[in-house]
Structures are given as structure tokens and as C-alpha cells.
């Protein structure tokens, strides 16, 4: 449905997007993740035909956005970073105008405007001027605008920016629903959003794609080794030695000592579950096992890991920091 091949965009000497390639199939929700200035907006602007690429190709619904822009744009709904609203127009007039320029036939226009307003939950402000709306409503009117012509592809640049927590949840649900028969690309720097709504993630940094995978796979892939977190009441004894002796364990580190209770991080080779053996070792020594759980890297840590210069340092930092 969406195919991007070796896309490069240069602004003079600055390369904003550098050899980016990815695909999105029908019905898929693709998350575009990256720090500010990574090239997310530029990539989206190229996909929507707002600006041409310096090199490479972008296809929407089988049409090249450069060579057949009208056909490609007909199949695309786009919510830019700042919702493109005319402050002097009422919401209904604005959506009616958008429907007109998107080629919705006259007879269907009123119905399409109404259903978009319902889906984006802006029907209650239909008669208000766009300029007088709150940030959350503006964002949703922008979303209604993108849905108007029922496009096959939706490109949403930070769709939840400026919404309150309840609206964020509602918008995420809407995006999930849309994923069924639309292809959705959404950019964000809010990480839980990606793991909650997207089927696949493209992580982009400094204009380059650093990873493409499902949120689960990304998490797994980055765990070169498994780490368990334990709390052991060793009654004054040092449990490190005993735990290091468990088969499969490659390292033990004391994270914290709180009286008799030691908080430990135990590393083992990837794919090997050492939990039973660890528990057995604690119990045989007569200590109390207060907690035993695997430590997973959150997407946030992966994100930091992938987009930070000093990868090794960042990984350690992230693995240690996200626990408490």
C-alpha cells in the first residue's frame, strides 16, 4: 500500500532524510518513532506530495507521489503537525471545503462531513469557529479532515499531540479501528503509543532508519542477554556467590542492600530460563525469596539505545535506570 525506496531529502548541505526505505501493507498501522528533527515530518511530507524527494521513490496505493500526484493524493488523508485550519471558518464549513477540494461528490458531501465529525468526536463544535477551538479540538478537527474522503492511506503526524489523557486514549482507539481497512502511518515521540497502537515500528534517527520491526520483536531483539531481578532475604549472608554458581548464569550484581534484603540483578545467556534454578538455589540456602521477575527493556529504552550515540553506555544506563 505504501512503499518507500531509498528516499533522500537534502536541504542545501543538510541531509534531513538519508536513504530511507520501508513498506506498509493494507490494514497495517506503522509507527514512526524518532527524536525531534529525526526526519519524521520530512518523510511524511514527501509521502503526501507536499514536497518532492531529492532522490528515491515513494508510492501510495501503487501510484508514485511524484509522477502521479493527483492519484496518490486522492488516496491519502494527511494530518500535519499543526492542524491546517482556517481560523475564520466554522468547523462544518471548513470540513465542507476540505471535502470539496478532496473531490467528494456533492451528493455525499454532507454525509461524509457528518460521519467524519462523529468519528473524530467534533460534532459538538460544528458551529464554532476553528480559531476559537482548544488545542485538543483543533487536533481532532484536523483528524476529521484527514478522514473525509475515506482514504486508503492515513498519514498522521503526531496525532495525539496536545490532547488530554482521555482524548489520547480515544484517539488511539480510533486509530486502531481505522487500522482494519486503512493503512495508517503515525509519527510520535511518545513511546507507549507505539507499543499500544502499532503493528510495526520504524525507528528513525538523524534521517536514517535504525530499526524496523514489531514492538515485541524489537524488545526481544535488543535483549542480547536475559536479566532477572531478585529480592532475597539472605539474613546477613552474601547471596552473590551462591547465585553465580547456578548453571547458565553469567553475572550477578547487587543493585541495593536494604538491611538483610538484597536486590540483585542476575544475567544469563539469552533464551535460557534460569528462574527455576535460581529459586531452587535461594530456597536450598534457607533464604527468603521475596521477588523474582524478568527485566524487560521497555520500548523507551530501546529507543534511547538505538538513537543515542554512545550505544554501550546508553544501554547500561537504560537497563539500570528503568527499574525502580
Amino acid at each position: 500500500m505504501i512503499e518507500v525506496q531509498h528516499l533522500t531529502k537534502r536541504y542545501g548541505p543538510v541531509t534531513a532524510v538519508d536513504d530511507v526505505s520501508f513498506r506498509a501493507e493494507r490494514g497495517e498501522i506503522l509507527g514512526f518513532l524518532g527524536p525531534n528533527g529525526a526526519g519524521k515530518t520530512t518523510t511524511m511530507r514527501i509521502l503526501t506530495g507536499y514536497m518532492p524527494a531529492t532522490e528515491g521513490k515513494a508510492m501510495v496505493g501503487g501510484y508514485d507521489v511524484q509522477d502521479q500526484p493527483i492519484e496518490a493524493k486522492r488516496r491519502t488523508g494527511y494530518l500535519p503537525e499543526t492542524p491546517p485550519l482556517y481560523p475564520d471558518m466554522t468547523v462544518r464549513d471548513y470540513l465542507d471545503f476540505c471535502a470539496r477540494i478532496k473531490g467528494v461528490p456533492r451528493g455525499e458531501r454532507a454525509a461524509r462531513v457528518k460521519s467524519s465529525m462523529d468519528r473524530a468526536r467534533v460534532a459538538d463544535v460544528a458551529h464554532r469557529h476553528c480559531g476559537k477551538l482548544s488545542k485538543g479540538y483543533r487536533q481532532r478537527v484536523g483528524l476529521a479532515q484527514a478522514l473525509l474522503h475515506n482514504p486508503e492511506v492515513l498519514i498522521l503526524d503526531e496525532p495525539t499531540a496536545g490532547l488530554d489523557p482521555k482524548q489520547i486514549i480515544e484517539t488511539r482507539q480510533l486509530i486502531k479501528q481505522l487500522g482494519g481497512d486503512h493503512t495508517v502511518i503515525l509519527s510520535t515521540h511518545i513511546l507507549p503509543e507505539v507499543s499500544q497502537t502499532c503493528h510495526r515500528v520504524v525507528i528513525i534517527n538523524k534521517g536514517r532508519v535504525v530499526a524496523v520491526d514489531s514492538p515485541d520483536n524489537l524488545t526481544a531483539r535488543l535483549r542480547g542477554s536475559e536479566t532477572m531481578f531478585l529480592q532475597v532475604d539472605a539474613a546477613g549472608a552474601d547471596p552473590t556467590g551462591a547465585l553465580a554458581g547456578v548453571p547458565g548464569v553469567t553475572g550477578v550484581r547487587v543493585a541495593e542492600m536494604r538491611g538483610a534484603v538484597a536486590a540483585l540483578e542476575v544475567e544469563s545467556a539469552a533464551g535460557r530460563d534460569v528462574r527455576r534454578d535460581l529459586a531452587a538455589a535461594v530456597v536450598t540456602h534457607g533464604w527468603g525469596l521475596l521477588e523474582l521477575r524478568p527485566m524487560r527493556m521497555s520500548l523507551e529504552e530501546i529507543f534511547l539505545h538505538l538513537t543515542t550515540e554512545d550505544t554501550a553506555a546508553a544501554a547500561t544506563e537504560a537497563a539500570g535506570g528503568g527499574r525502580q
Partner: protein, 255 residues
């Protein structure tokens, strides 16, 4: 065509949603009324004096009043039209709505034509107000209507040229003040460019005369529609819109 009309309709509506349309039409009507009043006063005073003279030259309301009125109106356009065109692109660029237009299934030509027609419609509304003034003359006298009709045609065409230049300048900047000042300066230059004629040779002087946007209006106000002037105005408008299209396209590449 439907797309062009959709844009034109939106443009016209946004003029009337902001104070711009009212200020522009109001000020134009006020100034036009002033010119009308003074020219009519002079005309009547001359008429009074003529009545004393036997066999003197007869008076002609078309030549002595309506023609100067049209020429004065064309000076007013110099000040008023930049206000109409200043926001066309600048405002869209500043508020980011240009992104909506450029990512909708529209061609650049449709967007530009829509904006041009929207501005022209407001301009035509502005001129329509002056029909009232001239209607009064018909109520109390018998002016010829042909020079009036061609005069309006000339004003429309000349205004079209100004609007196409204004669109072009508005596409350069996101700042409306810059747009309005630059447009005004260019209009003024197009107006007075043939003043430099005497300083140059006869050939350059003829070229400058041809370039001057107002030298072409004169025949229209006399009731003459000369193809050469129509060609000048229409090609001027087309060229202005073409350059606007290039400018919008260049802006795309630059981002």
C-alpha cells in the same frame, strides 16, 4: 473547474469573514465618492458658465467627468489592491494551511486560479459599488453607456494585472506587511515606469511606455477596446500567474 471554484469561493468567504473586505470596499467607496463629488461639482460649475455663452462648445459628461473619474479610480487601485492580495499566500504559509492545499488532490494551477478568481470577485464587488454613482448620472442625464462599459472592462483587466503581481509577491513571503509593501512598490513602479522615457532614447521610451500598466487604460475609458491593450493585459495576467506557479513550485523544493 469545480476545484477552482471551491478555492475561489473559500477565498471570497475568508475576505468577508475578516475585516479586510469591508475596509477595502468601504475605503474605496469613500474615496471614489469623493472624486465623484468633486468632479461632478466642477462639471456642473463649468456647465453653468457655458450656459452664458452662445454657440460655445457643448458639454460631454463622458469626456469631462466619467473619464477622469475612471482614471482617478485606477490610482485608488494602487493603494487598495495590495490589501486584497497580501494574505493570499502569506497567510496560508504562516498558518500552515498551505499544507492542506498542497496535499489535496489539486494542481498548482487550480489553487492559483482559485485564488486569482477569489481576489477578482472581491475586486468586482468593489467596482460594483461604484455603479450606484454612475447610475445617478443616468437618472439625471444621458451619458453614453459604451465608454462606461469599456471603462469598467479596462479597470477589471488592469486590476487583474495588479492582482496577479500581488499573488506572486504574496507567494514569496509569510509576512503580510512585507507582502503589502512590496506589492505597493511594484504597482507604483509599473505605474510610473514610462516617466523615465525622456531620459532614454526613443526606442527605450516606446518600450517603457508599452510596459507601463496605465498607458493601456486610456483607450478603454474613451470607449475603444483595442486588441493590443487587451492582449497586453491578458498576457500580463497570464505571465504573473505563471510566475506564481513557478514560485510555489520552487518553494516546495526548498521546503
Amino acid at each position: 473547474m469545480n476545484n477552482i471554484l471551491a478555492i475561489a469561493h473559500k477565498e471570497l468567504k475568508s475576505y468577508f469573514a475578516s475585516p479586510i473586505a469591508y475596509v477595502v470596499i468601504g475605503l474605496f467607496a469613500l474615496m471614489f465618492g469623493f472624486f465623484y463629488y468633486t468632479l461632478l461639482g466642477i462639471f456642473i460649475e463649468q456647465g453653468m458658465r457655458m450656459m452664458g455663452l452662445q454657440g460655445g462648445p457643448t458639454q460631454n459628461v463622458n469626456d469631462q467627468m466619467i473619464r477622469p473619474l475612471f482614471l482617478n479610480a485606477s490610482v485608488l487601485l494602487l493603494f487598495v489592491l495590495p490589501m486584497i492580495t497580501m494574505r493570499t499566500y502569506s497567510e496560508e504559509k504562516r498558518s500552515g494551511t498551505i499544507e492542506l492545499l498542497l496535499t489535496a488532490p489539486l494542481t498548482d494551477f487550480q489553487i492559483i486560479m482559485g485564488k486569482f478568481l477569489g481576489a477578482m470577485a472581491l475586486y468586482a464587488a468593489m467596482l460594483a459599488v461604484t455603479l450606484v454613482h454612475l447610475g445617478v448620472l443616468f437618472a439625471f442625464g444621458t451619458p453614453e453607456w459604451i465608454p462606461i462599459a469599456t471603462g469598467y472592462l479596462g479597470l477589471l483587466l488592469m486590476g487583474g494585472c495588479f492582482i496577479s503581481v500581488g499573488l506572486l509577491i504574496s507567494s514569496f513571503t509569510r509576512n503580510q506587511i512585507v507582502a503589502v509593501m512590496a506589492t505597493f512598490a511594484v504597482f507604483l513602479l509599473l505605474w510610473v515606469i514610462n516617466w523615465a522615457g525622456p531620459l532614454t532614447g526613443p526606442r527605450t521610451s516606446a518600450v517603457l511606455d508599452y510596459l507601463s500598466i496605465t498607458s493601456h487604460l486610456d483607450d478603454f475609458t474613451r470607449g475603444v477596446v483595442d486588441t493590443k491593450h487587451v492582449v497586453y493585459y491578458v498576457s500580463f495576467i497570464a505571465f504573473g500567474l505563471f510566475l506564481t506557479a513557478r514560485s510555489v513550485d520552487t518553494e516546495r523544493w526548498r521546503g
